[in-house]
Symmetry: C2
Subunit: 241 residues, 2 copies
């Protein structure tokens, strides 16, 4: 299946100094493009943990997207981790060195040049308006950590991820979710391709439970919706979206 | 080490319908209590994935905290997953059934009673003001998905997680992080117990880079701070917190 995993790399997130904004952004974007996200992992800046996590997900899912750890300082070890995942050597990339030299000018240091060492076979994704390219290693897109840069880079290359869209139906009910659990189970059994969600609502609004029905086939979602509604008392249905 | 992993369970988060607020809350809380969080995984409502993830983390870390999937509907399979992780049978828990019957009254259904089936050996953590107890299986605390309930339950039991506190020093610099990468590396080598973070700032503020030095020993953090400052031009230091 054309699914994705997101790997957020950064001690600053695990220690609560910074809140991760990249994975919620990428989840929304991928969903809109029709790509289901199956895992999000937030892990420390450690080469072996990055290697193990990327390897596990790259074997299982069509796309892995990492965020963070590709800058010039000692905690930026994502490329080492990805190289470890696929047992690839790190090689200086002359085209990347060229743009970094252009961008940084005379202030260039060994730390900047460290950023040019990429796993062998890394594809550079150039796009207009980006000071330097996005990096793609096998099925792993390595994005930076800063949300501003992630959004910029992602928007420049997102179309290559587009798949067939999801169709979602929401049904709001004025009844406790436990009271319709058996109905949901019956609809789930009859429509195995539909993802069914059931969410109790504790805030004082007009409904007690939200049901979601979702899959990639609009007709199947419509049929599952009818099947569920036919099992419910009409008076408990607050609204359908 | 007394570290923790957080497992967020829910298709609604992976599909972007709901944004996870529980893991940022728990990260902050655990940090404040002195417990480092080493992993956050967001995974689907699937018994085998829950089992595999909980098992991996329970073996490696002192605490695992799960959020979500303990309600009455078909997508609530967290207890099955935890039972699978430890190869435990699910057993009805009479004390839990009693409070659920008290709470729900005559409207009780099989779905409600499904919530009373817990992995054998589950410890019930009762606390004043909670309608029903939190559930603890070996080193796994299973919390609900709703942020309101998570906060309530967590605050009632958080003290059992308290450890020695972290000490954090932040240094704000008016210089690009690449220019001090070698200095950071030297301090890192001299103070291996100190976690050093370096974060470039892209917003227009008074500094370009934020450095964090953190460990559990205030004297060691102070020494690392002095070691770093002695390597920097005083003019690049914007402020220290």
């Amino acid at each position: 299946m054309n699914a994705a995993a997101i790997v957020v790399i950064g001690n600053e997130i695990l220690s609560g100094k910074v809140q991760d904004r990249n994975s919620p952004f990428l989840i929304r974007e991928l969903r809109e493009l029709g790509v289901p996200v199956k895992r999000v992992a937030t892990i420390p800046d450690e080469v072996d943990v990055i290697g193990e996590t990327v390897r596990r997900y790259a074997d299982r899912f069509a796309h892995v997207i990492t965020c963070g750890g590709i800058g010039p300082t000692l905690d930026d070890v994502t490329f080492e981790g990805i190289a470890r995942a696929f047992d690839l050597p790190l090689r200086p990339e002359p085209a990347l060195e060229r743009v970094i030299r252009e961008h940084v000018g005379e202030r260039i240091t060994d730390a900047h040049l460290r950023m040019t060492k990429l796993p062998e076979g890394t594809e550079l994704l150039w796009a207009e308006g980006l000071p330097w390219p996005a990096t793609y290693i096998r099925n792993v897109l390595a994005l930076p950590g800063s949300p501003e840069l992630v959004e910029k880079k992602w928007r420049a290359i997102r179309e290559r991820f587009r798949a067939s869209p999801f169709v979602l139906c929401r049904i709001y009910l004025g009844i406790d979710e436990a009271a319709i659990a058996a109905d949901l189970q019956a609809v789930d059994a009859a429509f195995p391709s539909v993802d069914i969600g059931s969410y109790p609502v504790f805030a004082p609004v007009d409904h007690e439970t939200e049901i979601t029905l979702e899959c990639k086939d609009a007709e199947v979602v419509a049929a599952a919706k009818q099947a569920l509604l036919s099992r419910l008392e009409p008076s408990v249905v607050v609204r359908i979206e």
